[in-house]
Symmetry: D2
């Protein structure tokens, strides 16, 4: 079959991509994300939470070298022994590593060397998948590697945004392709759910992270969920009503953060000539009123909900409602660089519950904790998720910069309650009677 | 009835104490706790988390003035207008206040002045309860005040311990009355529980905090719970096995804390001539092997559980198991200044599940979050619990320094995962099959 | 001779006090300073730079025990072995010690125990001086101890001020005895000095610190010195002219401090109803216009001088000018609790150069460095001055809280350029032609 | 005259270079320094004290734009208005600026854009110097610009060293061209100087900084000065003798720094297999025993001197001794990337006092303060030196990375006593009799 035809069939979902193809596509995509950047842009670290693009490109490569090629490809030769130290993120089992807060000091290896590293590992992976007899362990590890890299692809974009936002020249990563029609958002519809005992977590079909398992039952009270996300227009009302100045709306830790950090609006917002602008991957832009609010912390999401008299949903309420409304997201186009206004999305969605995926991650009231019976995988790979299960909150859905194919119904993202450099927003919930 | 007889009957639970009597007893008890201290001891703040005894004595008094006398006693005259600023803890609704971290700078008002303040408020409360027609609102607020002061009585003792522990003279707050028989602890018995849908939270009988409500159903998987707490002997094995040096046992944030703080043992432990000693309210003492380990953080509790191959119970598992085994603690003697060795306790307990109360607070796997349908009370008093519902973990039971009558089955204590100056320990749990 | 007569003769300067008498007087004076304080006041540490009164009382006693009684009194028994750890200030040669920033945690030993400690050491010193044959080494060490304690007497008062200033009740240490007549200060007279080669430093008569030696020659250019200190009235003009907002007036480190600390006026000043008040040892008081400005840093002194077009004098210019105008201060009454307005002082001074002593320490342009040929004494006592000779500036004169008899012409006080909790002010200088 | 001939004559000092030529050479030299670096290397900031190479390249260009072209070239068009914000270092008079600690976040403008910026300004400067009638003000400002850029050329190299030292790959900036013959250093010869009244400071011939003026007289006691610098061999003895573990050798602030920073050797030293290595611009190299110790702080220099029983010279002692021994350094070759061993240097020096220039800057006992009668220039350019005259110490001489032609007898370099990323070392002094 000619490649173009194959491609069209694969794209249309009529022909499944092979693992090799998906691997190659995923590896290419990281390079594509880095393409608009100079070597300088790729090297600098905006803040402790963020990593340089170059580091992401190398770390995702180190992951394959460490967990796939090293253990499973006979005769594999490491590209450079020093890279293990440079590009291990946090795996204690994989030896000592360069401190996270100093990743931006790694001007060497150069961006070019990292590209060579990628090519070396890509070639080895291709050989491994082609020559070695099919081995489920290897396939699972490669699948893991693809998903791992997809996570870093999202982080690359949020970290680039964080970097460019520090620059007094306010440079754009990419131009906005979209024509934004900023029509007022529709009134929220409240979707009712009866509660009861529901199954939550991954059912074992397809790839998932360990933290989505085991599938188990939870007991839900009847509740209602907003059919759409909170918009910037609504957030502007919150600001205008003194939301950032009223301690009674905030969790105690949240209020301390508001005061210490001087928060008066979401991250990247600034008031210029009395108009709120937001720094985006397309540079400084007027805040679009009907788009979902983004770059807010859990503290802000919680305070906003209290201001409305509503609350945040639990992750279980979210999952059940979305499961009932269609479940996993459809195969989708690739990322946008900022969340689209509601109407633009709503027109194309068949669902009642809009913006579950592809706009912003949605803070939930649920702390990030293991599911009953959770066991991390054996070995160093088991450090992936479990060791972060404290002091963070779960976010559900996906964002405008989540790679196509990465999101799913049972996905559990997690961040600390004060963090807001990701594309994070709010969907409101309420008790059945409230 | 002569007072001595009344007292005996009340003590025996045959005659309920009146609210006035309980109030007076509670107020006296705070003074009793402070009695071994000099004015200097009462004034100094050991660390940001702790408060001076004098401040506790004044703050619990301010609480009555602000929430009971001010609003409900006609013609009440504040003792000193400046005290509202000095002794408000964290109520944003009650106006500006002295910063928490600077409470130890308040050498004025003097301890003597604070005692006068207490006398003034006590007299007014007595008058209010005697003269004013019985008013459920007032009674509820006084009940709240008693429970509030009981909490601070526990904090007084933990904060005094923190202060004396800073002193190179290693002074004792009180001599140890107990003769400690440090017999080896019995082997752990694992109590099985079938799971299912269970009611959790307060049923409305007697006083409870808002955070124990509403009573609601949860779904539990079958599980097992240790019949006793983890002992110091077991903790010494953990230390000897390199527990504090193995990152793979720890949550990521926990390991960072271990390294930053240089933790190698529970708080107040120190190795002298190869023997572990622990600084206690009775001064520096050899660590009693059969007593429950105390002064450990959530991070340590979690790491220890992982080391054993077990886990921490959820707060629901804890509550259900204790409910099934007798529920609320019996009327008890007053506090000991350190947790008693197991055998000493077990001999007197009728229960299968030992040390649920009166030894150490037990870290649970549950994040401190609102129960479904939770609503804080209206008004400033509503700042009591709800605004702390993030980034903390629930502890259940009670400790050796919890005032008699304060603990109950549904009580939810909460601290940050790195905190360990309270009397905190571990009870292990496991899945039914594990 | 009857004691009363002796006393009168000694007071009149007709009969020199014996060393024992001066020692006893000096020891009593520390107790007198502490008298208005409660045990609480004596125990708390206002900030890292300051120490508790109780600590000063004990440390000055430890000094005699360590350097006089221990080495020189046969059979001397230490009062309490643990005190060496508690009350050593910074002598590396005298063993480990309690950290400076944690002095305020020492609620034990109690104030009463410290008084007993003082009595024990005082009695031993009396015995030593009475029984042991006169020994110049001992006499010199006692002389050193008296001067050491005098320094701490000044610090006690500045540290008490720092403590009470933290208290929202704004308590007074003592009432103001003075009737302040706040007449406008006279115009500055500029006293001219020809320069040339001048001898600087102590000539060996009477007690002095090692840092005042050796006496040596310096070469001075012709210069002029203001006959009085800068007044609060002049400082108010500086403020009104934007002195604290204009970076061009400041040293770079000074401007960084102004911004980081939010300085807008001298320490302890606050604007109430548009009137500047200053917190003093007599509580909050209106700023007296003709009194010398006090509680300013070197950075502020330097910026003010630049604003006037003048400069600070070097310590050599100061010493020579004062030497030429009368030298050492006269025997004087004891301390005032704040610097007196100029006119009050000027009326009683015979000198042309007013307020050289007894008002505020005067920042000089000279860094605190060793004189040519300087050698610290042998042994631990040698840690007294030399090891601080970096990054500080010399102040000359004395302040309103310097003990009578402590100041002298050649005295070199020293503090870091950002410190301002001492009674510190400015005298302006200028080049001959400027 | 053909260019080659001119060049040879100029090099030989027979034909003075024109200002234009010297400007062009100086501008080229900055580019040459950056040549071995990638754009990544040029962008990242190693630490707060250091700046990125790109920033240095742009800032030295901004200096000409701001102080020469803007005010003095009619019709000059700024290259990019935003650069003033990005590349102002600390001139308060030149408007707001990007914070020093965030210079490394400036991935834009790119290195290429900065090169264009340089070309634009270079062309304009060439035009200005060629077309505009000779104007002493302009010539002085260009001279200032050349010297300013020379200072930054030295900083570029020390900051590159700081950056590469952070890299686990330990990359070399350049290979070592030298063949190092590490012969034992000769015994120190002590050169005696009689003291007396001496003239210090610049006499107005040729360029100098404002802080070298006015020339004035100082009075010196007789003293002796070592004929060479302290060597690494001697420093190894200091280490072996416990120099970094003995508090009695250190200034109090120095000892605190030793403990806080964990210093056990000069900066960039590390012990590998029991051999001390030093990270240099040529990568990790064995410490050459006869080379002067480098990368030490004032605190270390002072402690070392105390250990030897000697002391540091004052800046006046240094200047007078060097003046007496030949004064200004000879026209020299360009920089080496590390200080040469003594014998290598001594063979070629005609002087008695070796290594005055071209090895390492020499810490002096003199605090960095204004000379009597010092006045900074009028205007923003006056912020160059004066505002740093507090809390720093003067260093004299020059280092192996000081540009040829930049050093001179009266030059006053200055750094804080804890700083050590510059090429800094020690020459000992002693009193005449000591």
């Amino acid at each position: 079959m000619p490649e173009a035809v194959t491609h069209r069939l694969v794209s249309a979902g009529l022909l499944p991509q092979s693992l090799s193809e998906r691997l190659a596509a995923s590896r290419r995509r990281s390079i594509d994300i880095a393409r608009p950047l100079s070597p300088e842009d790729m090297t600098v670290q905006a803040m402790d939470d963020a990593s340089p693009t170059k580091w992401h490109l190398a770390h995702t490569t180190w992951f394959y070298e460490t967990f796939v090629l090293g253990p499973h490809m006979p005769g594999y030769r490491r590209f450079d022994d020093s890279f293990a130290y440079c590009f291990n993120s946090y795996y204690e089992g994989a030896g000592p590593r360069h401190p996270r807060t100093r990743r931006g000091l790694l001007t060497r290896p150069s961006s070019a060397a990292v590209m060579d590293y990628r090519a070396h590992v890509d070639a080895s992976l291709a050989t491994l998948l082609h020559d070695v007899p099919p081995d489920p362990t290897i396939h699972q590890l490669v699948e893991l590697g693809i998903n791992h890299e997809q996570q870093h692809q999202e982080l690359m974009l949020t970290d680039i945004l964080a970097l460019l936002a520090c620059n007094p020249l306010a440079p754009a990563y990419r131009e906005l392709p979209e024509v934004v029609v900023d029509e007022p958002a529709s009134t929220v519809q409240w979707l009712s759910h009866p509660g009861g005992i529901r199954s939550i977590g991954n059912d074992g079909e397809g790839f998932c992270w360990d933290n989505e398992t085991p599938r188990h039952s939870v007991l839900l009270q009847p509740y209602r969920l907003a059919d759409r996300l909170v918009t910037n227009a609504e957030w502007l009302e919150f600001i205008a009503d003194g939301g950032y100045r009223n301690p009674l709306l905030w969790l105690s830790d949240g209020w301390a953060t508001v005061k210490n950090e001087g928060w008066i609006a979401p991250l990247y917002w600034e008031l210029r000539d009395d108009v709120w602008q937001q720094f985006t991957l397309a540079g400084l832009q007027p805040v679009p009123k009907s788009a979902p609010v983004s770059h807010i912390s859990y503290f802000e999401a919680d305070a906003f909900a209290r201001w409305t008299g509503k609350r945040l949903p639990t992750e279980f309420e979210w999952e059940f409602a979305v499961a009932a409304d269609g479940g996993d997201p459809p195969a989708s186009d690739d990322v946008q660089i900022r969340p689209a206004p509601l109407e633009q999305v709503a027109r194309s969605e068949k669902r009642r519950l809009h913006q579950a995926f592809g706009a912003v991650w949605q803070w939930t009231a649920s702390a990030y904790l293991p599911y009953p019976g959770y066991r991390p995988p054996e070995g160093t790979i088991g450090e992936y998720n479990g060791k972060f299960m404290v002091s963070q909150h779960v976010l559900r859905g996906s964002s405008c910069v989540t790679p196509a194919g990465h999101a799913r119904l049972t996905y559990r993202n997690f961040f600390y309650p004060a963090q807001r450099w990701q594309f994070t927003g709010v969907r409101l919930a309420a008790d059945a009677g409230a």
